[in-house]
């Protein structure tokens, strides 16, 4: 059942309206109403809004700290992990899923005891699209995206992030964001300037 709605056109002013400037007065009442409202702006560099939990910012690596998913526990015997270091297994799935695969550079070596050690994990964030497909692809829940979004740098080489940067980001992320409930915003108070009171159901 297709419903059409012919629009009503009210496009000419009556004589009274045009002489008394009623159209302007009507508009100005709205402006007046808005004049009395509280400002909704955030003064950016001084005050900052916390990005939500799902925010896709700078990449990080979750570290090997005993919170591994079952998929990693099954193969951790073959890997040479250290406590507090990245839990990457160099499976290259992130690179396969990436729309711009050349931004990754991942290298792994075989240790004397036969285990595998990841020695290099660079990402050139100048080429990154921040789509999150690499995070979806990671089978051991190592790669993650943090809420860091201020990433301006002075040199091109600083835009390339290495494994140790990512470990730090991942370790902070694990403490602050990972365990949070899956809520739409992290800090409702900050959003109240714009939204007013939102009626929550819980």
């Amino acid at each position: 059942m297709i419903k059409l709605k012919r629009l009503r056109r009210d496009d000419s002013l009556g004589p009274l309206e045009s002489v008394l400037f009623l159209d302007f007065i009507k508009g100005l009442t709205i402006t007046m109403k808005n004049l009395l409202r509280k400002p909704i702006t955030t003064q950016y560099p001084k005050e900052k809004i916390t990005p939500p939990k799902r925010f896709r910012g700078k990449h990080g690596h979750f570290v090997y700290d005993g919170t591994e998913p079952p998929s990693l526990q099954a193969i951790q015997g073959f890997m040479s992990f250290e406590k507090g270091k990245s839990r990457c297994v160099a499976c290259y799935m992130c690179q396969t899923a990436c729309p711009m695969p050349t931004l990754f550079r991942i290298e792994a070596v075989q240790m004397p005891d036969g285990t595998k050690k990841v020695v290099r994990f660079d990402m050139n964030l100048l080429n990154c699209l921040f789509c999150g497909l690499c995070v979806d692809a990671c089978p051991v829940e190592c790669l993650t995206m943090s809420d860091i979004h201020e990433m301006a740098v002075y040199r091109r080489s600083q835009a390339v992030i290495h494994m140790d940067d990512m470990e730090k980001i991942g370790a902070t992320n694990a403490k602050t964001v990972r365990e949070l409930p899956d809520r739409i915003w992290r800090n409702d108070k900050e959003r109240e300037t714009l939204w007013g009171k939102v009626k929550w159901n819980f």
């Binding site: 709605k5 896709r56 699209l129 739409i184 009626k199 929550w200």
Partner: protein, 571 residues
């Protein structure tokens, strides 16, 4: 809907020299190149396929008749779509007498494939500059282009950066136009008839992007207009041929960057139709997608309303609209993780389920939004300045709509019922109730009314989706599960998704018109050819016609009421 067996048989009966083919996804009429114009004319005039949708060619790399051209046409009355195909070596007859939109499509095809059009009035490149010597969408043109120019600025090592390999930019670069090239292009586009040629753009806030307009002026009256496009051309169609299906989704964000979710949805639905898995996509995913893309539609229309009013001098509306827009940005950010380049849909579902509290926030938004909208209408709709600048400016008749291939709010403003959400319901649009607003006169004022009413209808759709999603439990799936993972892999990351051979034209209703994807697959991980039908590109093609004999002051009004986005025009 594809043209039915009956229509195809009638066409076959009427024009005996054509061959017809129909499968589940597409109805095709094959014809020889010499008889193309006659066939198109008969199909247009006698069978009512009046609306021009798209035209391009496929590079088949065969030794004989290398290029396969296709023309997509639509019959608004019987709601049927038909594809006319022909083969050619290097030239085609021009269809500019049948559809003006074809003229622009031909310019693009000439630019990208080097097809010569016989009888084309002014065959110049659409996106590249006129001294460019390659045809980039041909299959023998490499993805990265021919890198044979050294750009000194790229080779400077200012801070002693020592990056190697792919982590650094390459030392050589593809050819970049110089000022001389651009000057030549500008001179080549327009033959001065009147007093002075006025340049508008490419970097002007009134053009809403990087478009370069040339007005040939007689006093303040515009005699002729031309547009130079391509400042934002990134070759998305070429990229599509080199990306897996899921990975290309990321580039659809960057096409129409104001309504990324709608583009995401259109692409995902197109691939799902090609895979034939539209039915196994879970209901929850469908409702989430519909709800999100309607939010995005309101977002996009708000940006349009704000900047349109700003262009005409009503600054307050801009501030009010951006306040509400910020709320939608907050919602989208919380649900998908990004504000602008969203990449939320996945082939077979969505990336994540809705988070806790999302529905409450959306409810709180749609509770207050209609009131705000009413306030703005009170300021604008009967304001005398607004009326003077909008009424009877840029009038489009119904015939114009078909002749110039216009879609979206522009078509509906002129009273043509063309809304893909109703004509070819995708996702949950078939299950929700909403009206399609239609204008009468087809001027800028009607287009304004239509867009405002569309926002109200979007609120209605969101309301229904929220009610439905509230009844669904948290454990319901949001991603389709493949029956046979060996044949069809449906994952969030899209690795290993193989699509069978076939072709499909599927479109979605973007805020700026119909966004269509023609996908030609030869089987495997990557599409063979993707033609994107950008709504803004064809909506812009009417601009020179509308500007004839108008004054410079109307340039902004008319352009903003067509609402083009350069990311989608140039791709």
């Amino acid at each position: 809907m594809q043209a039915s067996e009956k229509t195809l048989n009638e066409i076959k009966l009427r024009i005996p020299y054509v061959e017809v083919k129909k499968d589940k996804l597409i109805s095709i009429v094959y014809v020889q190149k010499e008889l193309l114009i006659n066939t198109l004319k008969t199909i247009k005039e006698d069978f009512g396929f009046k609306l021009f949708i798209d035209h391009s060619v496929i590079d088949t790399l065969e030794a004989q008749n290398r290029f396969e051209a296709f023309y997509i046409l639509y019959n608004v009355d019987t709601k049927e779509r038909i594809v006319v195909k022909t083969k050619t070596e290097h030239s085609l007859p021009s269809i500019e007498r049948l559809w003006f939109a074809g003229k622009w499509a031909e310019r693009e095809t000439y630019d990208m494939f080097g097809i010569h059009y016989e009888g084309h009035e002014h065959l110049v490149r659409a996106f590249m500059w006129d001294t460019y010597s390659y045809f980039p969408l041909r299959k023998d043109f490499p993805l990265q282009g021919y890198e044979n120019v050294e750009l000194p600025s790229l080779n400077e090592t200012v801070f002693g950066d020592n990056l190697t390999g792919t982590m650094n930019y390459r030392r050589t670069h593809t050819y970049v136009p110089t000022l001389k090239d651009l000057e030549y292009t500008e001179k080549n586009r327009i033959k001065k008839k009147a007093q002075v040629v006025l340049n508008w753009g490419p970097l002007h806030p009134g053009t809403h992007g990087t478009m370069w307009f040339l007005f040939d002026l007689e006093g303040e009256r515009v005699v002729q207009t031309d547009v130079i496009l391509g400042q934002l051309h990134r070759g998305v169609e070429k990229l599509a041929e080199h990306e897996p299906y899921q990975q290309f989704l990321v580039y659809t964000d960057r096409m129409d960057y104001i309504s990324a979710l709608c583009s995401n949805q259109a692409w995902t639905v197109a691939v799902e139709r090609l895979l034939g898995i539209e039915d196994i996509v879970p209901l929850k995913a469908k409702y989430i997608r519909t709800m999100m893309s309607e939010l995005q539609r309101i977002n996009s229309h708000l940006l349009w309303l704000g900047t349109y009013a700003l262009d005409l001098g009503a600054l307050t509306i801009f501030l009010y609209a951006f306040k509400e827009r910020e709320k939608i940005m907050d919602i989208i950010e919380g649900i998908t993780g990004a504000r602008l380049t969203i990449s939320y849909t996945r082939i077979g579902g969505v990336r994540m389920d809705l988070p806790e509290g999302a529905l409450e926030v959306i409810e709180s938004f749609i509770k207050f939004f209609p009131k705000e909208l009413k306030d703005w209408e009170k300021i604008l709709s009967r304001n005398r300045i607004w009326l003077k600048r909008n009424k009877d400016v840029g009038v489009l008749t119904k015939e114009d709509i078909f002749f110039y291939g216009l879609t979206g709010a522009v078509a509906r403003g002129s009273g043509v019922f063309y809304d893909i959400r109703k004509l070819e319901p995708y996702d949950a649009y078939g299950m929700v109730d909403f009206d399609v607003p239609l204008g009468e006169n087809g001027d800028c004022y009607d287009r304004y009314l239509v867009r405002v009413e569309e926002m109200r209808q979007s609120v209605r759709i969101i309301e229904q989706c929220v009610q439905k999603l509230k009844t669904m439990s948290k454990n319901e799936p949001f991603m389709a599960e493949s029956q046979d993972p060996k044949k069809l892999r449906l994952t969030l990351d899209g690795i290993g998704l193989k699509v069978p051979a076939g072709e499909v034209y599927s479109s979605g209703e973007n805020p700026r018109g119909e966004l269509g994807f023609y996908i030609n697959s030869k089987g495997g991980l990557k599409p063979y050819r993707v033609k994107i039908r950008p709504g803004s590109f064809y909506n812009l093609c009417v601009y020179p016609h509308l500007m004839e004999n108008r004054y410079v002051a109307d340039a902004v009004t008319i352009l903003a009421s067509l609402d083009p986005v350069v990311g989608e025009i140039d791709r």
